[in-house]
Symmetry: D2
Subunit: 90 residues, 4 copies
């Protein structure tokens, strides 16, 4: 993994973990469900932005190396799987 | 919030937090991006299952009380918003 | 179904069908995949907006009647199912 | 676009258009909203499967050619955009 991507990913994860801790407090304090849900939606969006960064790093390293190194069938197959699993409705 | 829903939500959050910690370790250990992404997808699915439980609890308490108590415009408006924000593509 | 919702839904469907026809032409003319994908994303967004309208109409008719008419278990169960199926990742 | 992918995409579009026509009839006949929504969810899933096929074709043609032909910055940038726009929650 690229050093920059790794550093950024760790930072994003720390933010997401803090956010989840806030959600747990909201639930313990019996806060209004609608407000809790708005926060869980925000956490999912944050995870998706993390995923976009990971994919970006993956494309510029493993995919480029795989395509140039004759392993395109394998690396592109994994990419289709990621795209498809990520897919909201299956 | 219903006592059962609250207890279940706290339990699900603990699981999600543990899962995220595992993902951080994977990133720190430079594990293959594709494997990391599969785990972040799993975490998002776990958050969505938590959301379904919260919505279920919300419907059987606040929505029923709101509709019977003459505040249907407000509580149904919030529900449309939840449905729409949750909406994957906008 | 409310008359207004029905009229609006039919109108939205006509738009979506026209959009899909445009996508078919793009594919027949061998247009760039990335441009085709941007259009299919837009169609999905249009379908989701249609769904939000249908849900809104459903809440203000069937849900209100069901809750007031003692059939809340059934109508709220269906709503949880809709919320959960709609759910991007399961 | 690969000949096979093109043929498959046209076939999938025809299926999707037929499905949408069925949904329009359901709405015109005032069918139960919940049943209509289940069908719109199914249409979105069909569109997503079409997208997966288009992406797969794109990877094995344009991406491979772009990476080998020194245009990796451009083609990978487009791919990140597709991944990110496709992203359910932003």
């Amino acid at each position: 993994m690229l050093k920059d991507v790794k550093k950024d990913a760790i930072k994003r994860l720390a933010y997401i973990e803090g956010h989840l801790e806030g959600i747990r407090k909201m639930i313990e304090e019996d806060r209004y469900c609608v407000d809790v849900l708005k926060q869980t939606f925000a956490v999912r969006r944050a995870i998706e932005r993390l995923e976009t960064r990971l994919v970006e790093g993956h494309l510029h390293t493993c995919i480029v190396e795989g395509v140039k190194g004759g392993r395109e069938k394998q690396v592109l197959g994994e990419l289709v799987e990621i795209f498809s699993v990520k897919n909201p409705a299956r």
